[in-house]
């Protein structure tokens, strides 16, 4: 007969062991990676910093193998229904890939820099810098003089916008006809 408490305890135990492994690899667990990995049977893991993804992958594979044995035993005893066995089995199928991916996102080791390198930032900046109006300007002059729109004479007094030659407007007013 299916035992809900047994399948729940199995799931909880699996979650706890996965968290213990991943957290110790991240250096965020009270036990070192070497201790946790050795408990699983991963000999010679040492305590590298950072823990390589391959070591975590190996440890997770061993954990999944143990979990499959326990799941098979539950199925034989009849304490887990076929549907539950299938669901837990599918979780075990995906576990190694999912957890190594999560570790990769969370870790800050050299192989997978946090957020990647900076080359994309500078490449973006180079691309947008070439688009600025002044970058594309054909000509740039330090000095300009306003010219009368009627006769072409240059402005001769700063902030005086009447042409000294023809008394026309240096700037045509908005309501004037062309």
């Amino acid at each position: 007969m299916e035992s809900v408490s047994e399948t729940s305890a199995y799931a909880e135990r699996l979650n706890r062991r996965v968290e213990e492994l991943v957290n110790s690899a991240l250096g965020a667990h009270s036990e070192t990676w070497a201790v946790v990995a050795a408990r699983l049977g991963l000999e010679g893991a040492g305590d590298p910093s950072p823990v390589p993804v391959t070591q975590l992958e190996a440890a997770l594979t061993m954990l999944v193998a143990e979990a499959r044995v326990d799941l098979a035993a539950m199925a034989r005893r009849g304490t887990a229904s076929p549907d539950v066995v299938t669901a837990l089995g599918m979780r075990l199928d995906r576990l190694v890939a999912a957890e190594t991916s999560r570790y990769g996102d969370a870790s800050v080791d050299e192989k997978k820099p946090a957020g990647g390198g900076l080359s994309s930032i500078f490449a973006n900046v180079q691309a947008t810098a070439a688009m600025s109006p002044w970058a594309r300007a054909k000509e740039w002059k330090r000095q300009v003089a306003l010219q009368c729109r009627s006769c072409g004479a240059p402005q001769r007094e700063s902030r005086n916008f009447k042409c000294e030659y023809c008394a026309g407007d240096l700037f045509r007013r908005p309501n004037d006809e062309e």
Partner: protein, 272 residues
């Protein structure tokens, strides 16, 4: 602390050290990239400014990993290993790391940008001495050292020319002076941030009693010192008088939102 707590603190420190290490790597890479941009665009501060904006975001994401790890895994371990006082140890450790990371990054950017502008100075100096000719007749205009747009009338043909500074001069005396002023004042800003953190921890230790008025007055002095430093450096570089209106406007805003919410301050100092 007992052995378990000590180990927990040490492991958290180890995790934090990785974040610092990663920031150091990114800073080294950023320095090369920023210097390359400045060499390519000496007249335009926009590319460097855009890059710094993106880099700020990247560094913020890195800092946030401390908080994410704390929320997901570490806080529970600190809670389980002791009482509220030990949880505070972890929270302080987290906060100290986040502040130190941010301040190191800000100092790095300020220092790097200043170095870039200092390297530009020979080109700026050469540009400052360049004569400018009338737009109509080409005769040399009576324009001396020029940091802003000026009107210069040609002595030969009488044309009123509007003369802008060379672009590299505009860049140096605009964004460059801002960078020098920011860098000079930045240590004072960091002192203020550390001071506010200490005040919060003292309040926590005193069962969250209000901050003493003397402490708020000290904060007020520190903010004024920061803005004065900023204004003085900017003025010094441009050969102008310090912009005291800027200082007073910043202080007014700070007091209104930082101090005047406290009735004791209002009773003693009144509104801004």
């Amino acid at each position: 602390m007992n052995a378990e707590q000590t180990a927990l603190v040490a492991r958290f420190e180890g995790f934090i050290a990785k974040i610092f290490g990663r920031q150091a790597e990114l800073m080294a890479e950023a320095e090369q990239g920023l210097k390359g941009l400045a060499a390519q665009y000496p007249e335009d501060s926009l590319p460097m400014g855009n890059a710094i904006g993106a880099l700020d975001h990247r560094m913020r994401q890195l800092r946030e990993r401390i908080g994410q790890a704390w929320d997901a895994q570490i806080e529970e371990q600190f809670s389980d290993a002791g009482d509220g006082a030990f949880l505070d140890v972890g929270l302080d450790q987290k906060r100290d790391a986040e502040m130190k990371l941010e301040q190191e990054w800000q100092t790095f950017i300020a220092t790097t940008v200043c170095a870039i502008y200092r390297d530009l100075w020979p080109q700026v100096q050469a540009a400052l001495g360049q004569p400018v000719g009338c737009s109509q007749c080409g005769s040399e205009l009576p324009v001396k050292v020029q940091l802003n747009i000026v009107a210069a009338t040609c002595a030969h043909c009488g044309t009123a020319n509007q003369v802008v500074p060379e672009r590299i001069v505009s860049n140096y005396y605009g964004a460059g002076v801002q960078a020098f002023a920011d860098a000079a004042a930045l240590p004072l800003r960091h002192e203020i941030e550390l001071f506010r953190e200490r005040v919060d921890r003292q309040r926590r230790a005193n069962n969250w009693k209000p901050e003493p008025l003397e402490s708020m007055e000290r904060w007020d002095e520190m903010e004024r010192a920061f803005w004065m430093r900023f204004a003085e450096i900017r003025a010094q570089m441009r050969g102008e008088e310090p912009d005291l209106e800027l200082v007073e406007s910043r202080m007014k805003s700070f007091r209104q939102y930082g101090l005047e919410t406290d009735q004791r301050w209002r009773a003693k100092h009144g509104p801004a």
